[in-house]
Amino acid sequence: MLKKIFAVLLCLTLSISLCGCGYEYFNPELEASYTSDLAGTELNVYNWGEYISDGSDGCMDVNREFERITGIKVNYTTFESNETMYSQLDNGGVSYDIIIPSEYMIERLMSENMLEKIDISKLSNYKYVDTSYFNPDTTGLVEGYAIPYNVGMVGIIYNSALIDEPEHSWTALWDEKYRNMSLNFNNPRDGFMTAQMIKGYSVNSTNLAEWNDACELLKSGKDVLQSYVMDEIYGKLETGEAAIGPYYAGDYLVMQEVNPDLKFFYPEEGTNIFIDAICIPKCVKNYEAALLYINFLLEPEIALANAEYIGYASPHTAVINNPDYCYYQNEILYPKKEDMPKVEYYRNIPEEVRMHYENLWLDLKLY
């Protein structure tokens, strides 16, 4: 009896896993350009969770497509924060061929000599890369060590059915009017950013007094705040449990589909912009396959599928200029020049400053 049930269950799971659809996005010539003698080898990819088009909801399954065309097996794994990614890489015991962290972590990895140079001469799709992202003064990304994958900015989301349009300022999160209805980030870097913007400080300040100041400001607003949140903000704003809170622009677009009353603005003081980029770590074992994978991700069709799945802004020039792209000229993801807020990237911060603000953050949470 038990055996029969097991057999049925096994058949069910097998049939589910077998019916992955084959997409015919590519012409045979293009597919042929991906054939190599690397078939049968393995590629270890380490990316943010839900950060690649994975075949759910009928979208393209990027990793499976890559496997089908090249014959290279992709071991795809995920992380939920740059710091987790760093510790995995640092601990050893695992090797990765591709990692996709954010700019400040890339800068740190660079400074610790943990990144391998990417041979861009072998990337036929490198022409789609917007090289203006390689800027030592803003992103800190260095050409040849990182390929931009996703860009995003932080803004404030509010429920227009519950409150009137607030002044376009971070101070809205401190406003007595929204007592117990406002939210803020539950991670130190983004949380401090909201206060630093009000004070006019750099988010990368190495002046400890400025961090103390920002912390005092956050403490003064804690009483008004409903709570510090990360992805819980989806539920809280969608249901109207909270009326206002800051989050990433791309995530706002998802929330807005559920609750059309939700509105969005970029605060006038300026905001944080982040960029996640593809890198090859020093522990790479299958370098050629890694190059092939990067080129594949830069393929306009693939980049489009990823941009539509993730919902953040794309740095890929062919995607941005594609009128079929579902966020084509979306004014929240791609503000016009005159609407573009003042932005600042996070940069790698010296160890002692990092320790300092992490302690301040603990202090704030216990306050």
Binding site: L2, C21, W48, E50, G55, N91, G93, S95, G235
Partner: protein
Amino acid sequence: MKTLSRIYIALILLFLYAPVAVMIVFSFNSGGSVWVFEGFSLDWYKGLATNSSMLTALQHTLIVAVLSAIISTVMGTAASVGILALRKKFTRRAVMSATNIPMMNADIVTGVSLMLLFVFVGSLFGLKESLGFFTVLAAHITFNLPYVILSVLPRLRATDMSLNEAALDLGCTPVKAFFKVILPSISTSIFTGAIMAFTLSLDDFVISYFTCGHYQTLPIVIYNMTKKTVSPDVYALSTIIFLAVFVLLILYNTLQSKADLRRGIRA
């Protein structure tokens, strides 16, 4: 008084099952929201069928859970027989405590120390990559083992050992006596131990997190979704897993009661 106790039981059941019920309801939601129910649909189940990252993670979880349950059950049963055969009370106590300590140890300590061990041993052999399928399997067997022993040993102790002696007297070899006499009489507790090991392995997060390397299991993949929101695919998958386990347990219980009945008649 009776109504009061009924209300009390109803409340307990409500708190136990309300979260699961909510999750099952929302797995049939037609909208993308995980908070507002917009209508009935099977979209998330269909989406799940093509979501390869989730299915791979499920496959990893099931493989590790089944294998670790089988291996730890075999090892645990053998260990129980061995522990019971120990003559000196002191050694028996010492071995029992040694097996119990990992059970009380915080998962995070077990996880970190296992990871350190694996990486250390791996580096001794000059491996660039020591974490993976075998380490996560070894880790799961390690934390399953005490639970299997805890389930099998009391039953074994309660078994009448004169049965074993009778079998030996009647010409069985010790091995044959074990498989013909002892094993059938402790089979229920072995099965209970195996199911316990399976479920423990299925939902372990902390220890797998440190030891899995590229072999990420389902709880880890779901945890890594928390920067963006957890997609309702997960609800659909959890519903399927819940129902599968539920059916399995009901089946087990009916089979069990039937077996008990048969044994009762024979006795």
